[in-house]
Symmetry: C2
Amino acid sequence: MPRVSTDQLAARRQHILDGARRCFAAHGYEGATVRRLEQSTGLSRGAIFHYFRDKDALFLALAEQDARRMADVVAEQGLVQVMRDLLETARGEGTDGVEADGASDRSWLGTRLEVSRRLRTDPDFRERWQAHSAELTAATRERLERQAAAGALRDDVPVPVLAQYLELVLEGLVSHLAMGLPADALDGVLDLVEQSVRTLRR
Amino acid sequence: MPRVSTDQLAARRQHILDGARRCFAAHGYEGATVRRLEQSTGLSRGAIFHYFRDKDALFLALAEQDARRMADVVAEQGLVQVMRDLLETARGEGTDGVEADGASDRSWLGTRLEVSRRLRTDPDFRERWQAHSAELTAATRERLERQAAAGALRDDVPVPVLAQYLELVLEGLVSHLAMGLPADALDGVLDLVEQSVRTLRR
């Protein structure tokens, strides 16, 4: 067998993740059969399961990667910006037509919805997922703490409550968009959300 | 065959709906097999499908009933109150331990989540669901219009945006609770949500 570099391994692994993301988004967890995973990745089951123990490991790796990317965006730009990006992408009007890292890819919504469903029905999954959920919460709180220190946030509501509020709205937005419901009025909604955590200007 | 009254028919129908709700909540749409529906209703498949054409008709009837009850509560007490009720029930600390109509029953969350999933994956279902979704939106808007007329709402954001905002938070709350995530900090979040649609008092 030819030797492959670490870079090649990582690229192959990422290729599988990208294909699998489309597949899970289109067919759901149960519907993403091994045959469909082969089609969407263009690889044999042997190749796929060389990198991931089973379908479950593949799905978890995917969800973890998405959660980590999201935490990065939150740390840089905040959770409301994540929501605005989501909204734009769902409308198919990405600012420059290029998705630098695929984090706000439309299929990401499908993964999120599957995560929600499995969190509800699978206690093992819920336990493993805690760490990633905590990562996002930490990133959100840290950014809010920085904004609070800069005097940009309202000071009559504790930062953990503001963080939970934003996460709840995000969850609602993901649901809404994943269901394909209309996104027209949502810019105004996000303005309202952003304003409601900021220092009073009205 | 003995003749049964309209009341008896309605009671039987409701009995099936209640059992089916528990079954769908516990096992999801796919997992709610005919055998499980028999167990949860205590009736034979013949009896169940005498009242509902098929499993799909049963699920839709259930989801419709829940949506109608919710619109009623919204008209009376508003969407934030619906959310507070949901929160209390999810914590298992209902105010008087009695669910008058089962509308905020814990299993209702399961139905909602299944609706979300099917809206996403089933275009026919989405189309049939529009009417019920529109009913809730209408109830929410009407109540907000009445509050606005009474000067209780902020006047710098249009009522449709406020309504959409509340619906988005509700969707997030349903997701959050259905996933079994912690509900501790959510009272403060709902206070913030309520405050952010009201006339400025800060």
